[in-house]
């Protein structure tokens, strides 16, 4: 009886933390400074299973954040944990659970894709008895099987990108970190890999850093906007788009009007329509233009709205 009581109490107390951190990537107050330059400032977030997009302007700190989570560089302060396993106190267990594709990466040019992936299977500690099978499996998923015998020297950037993605999948990761994984891929391949990431996210946390948010918007569970070294937004995409509601305007301007106004407007898109310019303007207040009307924001409008909002503040 006492035993049952103790078990119940233990279940009520200790697993509280486990339940919260199960299938979760938790970042706690991550700050990174490079000499005098602060790259990331107090980033805290929790990500459950699903597809999450990390976006933001160049230099916002996206790559630095992914490199910290992948254990490539250490943060100045803060903690990273995956499913309750801390990166800094148990890096072997942590890294055994992640797959990472850097933004810029190279290959050993004299190796074939098969040999290259086998090399990484060994580096990931995958037992030799299953390594060959895992290599075949990820080559099949990344659709590079028919090129397996060609040395990587002859591969295009897009093909190498697929090898990089395959490498990230070798250890059936619980957390998949991909920095600009769609760069170098043609539209058809991008479509395939967007779907692939979405499907993979049903069983794991997939965190993609990308500028191509429109293509992934329908599939993503949440989006994070990193700007000025801080997390400016985190949540579902519809909620992000709500923030720009009432801040996007459509106006039709003559060439002269456009030339007069263009320096003072923040524009998300511009279309030439038989000598008249159809302009989507980002502004928290109604622009002083005749005939301007409020329109529903697109994802791109929202992105520009949020980034420019910080500038004006």
């Amino acid at each position: 009886m006492q035993c049952i009581y103790v078990t119940c109490v233990m279940k009520l107390i200790t697993p509280k933390m486990d339940r919260r951190e199960k299938n979760m990537l938790v970042l706690d107050s991550i700050t990174k400074r490079f000499k005098k330059n602060t790259a990331l400032n107090m980033i805290s977030l929790s990500l459950p299973k699903g597809l999450h997009l990390l976006t933001g302007p160049n230099g916002a700190g996206k790559t630095t954040l992914l490199r910290i989570i992948a254990g490539i560089i250490a943060p100045t302060t803060g903690q990273v944990s995956l499913n309750g396993i801390s990166l800094f106190s148990d890096s072997v267990r942590f890294k055994a659970r992640i797959g990472y594709l850097p933004q810029k990466f190279g290959v050993y040019p004299e190796m074939t894709a098969q040999k290259f992936l086998r090399y990484f299977a060994d580096l990931k500690g995958i037992p030799a008895s299953v390594a060959a099978q895992k290599v075949e499996e990820v080559m099949d998923i990344a659709k590079i099987t028919s090129f397996h015998n060609k040395t990587l020297r002859d591969w295009t950037k897009g093909m190498r990108q697929k090898v990089g993605i395959a490498q990230g999948l070798l250890n059936d990761p619980e957390l998949l970190l991909m920095d600009e994984p769609l760069s170098g891929l043609d539209p058809q391949e991008r479509y395939y890999f967007c779907n692939l990431f979405s499907q993979l996210s049903s069983e794991r946390i997939v965190l993609l850093s990308t500028h191509i948010i429109e293509e992934l918007a329908a599939l993503a569970d949440s989006i994070m906007l990193l700007d000025k070294n801080k997390l400016q937004f985190k949540g579902p995409i519809p909620r992000m788009m709500d923030t720009a509601r009432g801040g996007v305007w459509l106006a039709t301007l003559s060439e002269g009007e456009w030339n007069n106004k263009k320096t003072e407007l923040i524009v998300s898109s511009l279309r030439d329509n038989n000598g008249l310019y159809e302009v989507r303007i980002i502004s928290a207040v109604r622009p002083e233009i005749t005939g301007v009307c409020s329109v529903e924001p697109t994802l791109e409008d929202t992105y520009i709205y949020l980034v420019s909002k910080d500038d004006s503040e």
Binding site: K32, F34, N37, A39, T64, R67, A70, G71, I72, I73, A74, F88, S91, V92, R93, K95, A96, R97, I98, Y100, L101, P102, F105, G106, V107, Y108, P109, E110, K115, Y119, F120, D122, L123, K124, G125, I126, P127, V130, Q133, K134, E137, V138, I141, K143, I144, T145, S146, L169, N171, D172, L177, Q188, E189, Y191, Y192, N195, L196, Q199, L200, S202
Partner: protein, 289 residues
């Protein structure tokens, strides 16, 4: 003609399309032997992989077989020396056959083309360069940009560095031992009559090689492997220049260098140990933001 209609219908062409009918007429005149079953199945086999890869419409969730993470942890965590030895095999794959053949041929050709104690001098001066070249080649990851992917793997930078040093030392020592054997066989007078012990001959090339490897690894901690090997090479050139001038000659003849190989060997080993120890303590070895 019914066949024509069927084909033209399939490709959305009018059955009276004169141009297409002419093409079909022309095609009908060609006679091609009917493919055998073996030919058809061979063609299908060749196409299957490509067709499957191009089928981007598939919405089937990819199945990644679960992996035994406990086995991974055991492999990586196993007593640090054992785990380093497990890493040696993949690191050996980085040394290409072309590199092995070229470098060892240069050393063996040098021994072959020199004679007497010149061979020994060649080996003593050549071993550090072979060591530096092998070290640089083993660390190509930094040059090609595979190092980030490698660093995200469960093995620590120290384990990886340890394995690479073992491969570098292993390969260089094997080549130089064979070269020593060649010298001993061809010019046995040097080793027997002048009573130079084999150990001293080995120490003569081993010490500078380990010393220069130690320097390059120590410098690489701050400046990367390229600068590490470059600075060690510069010191090697300075040493050669020093040995060639009068002061250096007097220094050597005075016998002041007699005890030096052992000192250089110890310094080199200490620098290598320092390199591994530094990597064990530091995760933030890459500061490029």
């Amino acid at each position: 003609m019914d066949k024509y209609q069927e084909i033209l219908g399939e490709i959305d062409k009018d059955e009276n399309d004169k141009e297409m009918v002419a093409v079909l007429n022309k095609l009908s005149n060609y006679t091609v032997p009917e493919p055998t079953v073996a030919m058809t199945s061979s063609l299908l086999n060749n196409l299957k992989t490509v067709l499957r890869e191009n089928d981007t419409s598939s919405n089937e969730a990819p199945f990644i077989k679960p992996i035994d993470r406990v086995a991974i942890q055991k492999t990586v965590d196993a007593g640090s020396l054992l785990s380093i030895f497990r890493l040696v095999k993949p690191q050996m794959n980085i040394l290409t056959w072309r590199f092995i053949v070229t470098t060892s041929l240069i050393i063996f050709a040098g021994i072959f083309l020199t004679s007497g104690d010149t061979s020994l001098i060649f080996l003593t001066n050549g071993a550090p360069i072979l060591g530096l070249l092998t070290l640089f080649y083993e660390h190509r990851a930094q040059l090609y940009g595979t190092n980030e992917m490698e660093a995200s793997c469960p093995y620590t930078p120290a384990q990886l560095a340890g394995a690479r040093i073992i491969v570098t030392l292993g390969y260089t020592v094997i080549v130089c031992l064979i070269a020593t054997g060649m010298i001993a066989l061809s010019f046995s007078d040097i080793l027997i009559n002048e009573k130079i012990l084999l150990w001293n001959t080995i120490l003569a090339w081993l010490a500078p090689m380990v010393f220069f490897l130690g320097i390059s690894l120590a410098v690489s901690l701050r400046l990367g492997i390229g600068y590490g090997c470059g600075s060690a090479f510069l010191i090697w050139v300075m040493q050669i220049v020093f040995e060639q001038n009068d002061f250096g000659n007097r220094f050597i003849q005075a016998g002041l260098l007699r005890e030096m190989p052992m000192v250089f060997l110890v310094i080199g080993l200490l620098l290598i140990a320092m390199h591994i120890r530094y990597l064990r303590n530091e995760i933030d070895y890459s500061q490029n933001g």
